[in-house]
């Protein structure tokens, strides 16, 4: 197969990158062809490169994330997200307000809630953002996320929980008109 040849020539690619490349390069012009067209200033070629490789670029960008960094994030803001929500008895001190939305579609289809959702993701600490993007938005299984981001299972779970907690809180603030 064409891809096999490409992989062999690019001996420096890691196994993961190579498999991402293989998955995303199913048809259409080969990378060398695209490169030639890019050099010639072909916009359509640039668009194809974005579509084809954006994923692995995003993945590369998250490579600096390590479990040490994650552990730090886990330790740093322990319980900060739910500060002041509960009385010492463990019951609600500041109960959440009721949401009118009945389905996820209602949240996403309303432009302001969609925007609030996106900016809540953007405002997350780096590792939480990486975890929730991969798990919930892109739908990767926990195991893959642990592998790619080099997280322990526990830290992955904690970070996902934190991220969801924060996003819910951000949406709640947004809905109560703040």
């Amino acid at each position: 197969m064409k891809d096999g040849g490409m992989k062999a020539r690019r001996g420096t690619l890691s196994h993961d990158e190579a498999s991402v490349r293989t998955m995303s390069t199913q048809s259409a012009p080969s990378d060398p062809d695209l490169l030639a067209r890019l050099r010639a200033g072909d916009e359509a070629a640039f668009e194809m490169v974005l579509a084809r490789h954006h994923h692995s670029l995003v993945r590369l960008a998250t490579l600096f994330v390590s479990d040490a960094g994650a552990a730090e994030e886990v330790a740093q803001e322990d319980a900060a997200a739910t500060d002041g929500w509960f009385a010492s008895s463990g019951s609600w001190a500041r109960p959440p307000g009721q949401w009118a939305a009945a389905t996820p579609e209602e949240l996403v289809l309303r432009a302001e809630t969609h925007a609030a959702l996106e900016s809540a993701i953007a405002a997350l600490p780096a590792v939480q953002r990486a975890v929730i993007t991969m798990r919930d938005v892109e739908g990767f299984p926990a195991e893959d996320v642990c592998n790619v981001l080099e997280l322990s299972e526990t830290n992955q779970r904690v970070l996902l929980h934190r991220a969801r907690t924060r996003i819910r809180a951000a949406l709640s603030e947004h809905m109560s008109g703040r």
């Binding site: 916009e43 640039f46 668009e47 974005l50 579509a51 954006h54 994923h55 995003v58 739910t82 929500w85 509960f86 008895s89 463990g90 019951s91 609600w92 109960p95 959440p96 009721q98 949401w99 939305a101 389905t103 996820p104 579609e105 949240l107 996403v108 809630t113 969609h114 959702l117 996106e118 993701i121 929730i132 993007t133 919930d136 938005v137 892109e138 739908g139 779970r157 996902l160 929980h161 969801r164 907690t165 996003i167 819910r168 949406l171 709640s172």
Partner: protein
């Protein structure tokens, strides 16, 4: 009663509950609390809504704004 979860404990287990990533005994404890506590029920519902909404967000591939910015950069390069 130690077996009963507090609201704070329910909140701390919400993500795992939504993912069905807990033992059936834990799940039962959650269900018992939720059956009795309207506030936690609403809280769990909201987290589930958020997770559902994230799942149907358009894919994070380039994203329109970023794609346009990149295209502009490409044109001027």
């Amino acid at each position: 009663m130690k077996w009963m979860l507090t609201c704070e404990q329910v909140v701390s287990k919400t993500s795992a509950f939504v993912d069905r990533d807990m033992s059936w005994t834990e799940r039962l404890r959650m269900r018992v609390h939720l059956a009795m506590c309207r506030v936690c029920r609403e809280y769990v519902r909201q987290v589930a809504l958020v997770v559902g909404a994230l799942r149907i967000l358009p894919p994070q591939l380039p994203g329109e704004a970023r794609r346009k910015r990149l295209m502009r950069l490409f044109r001027t390069a």
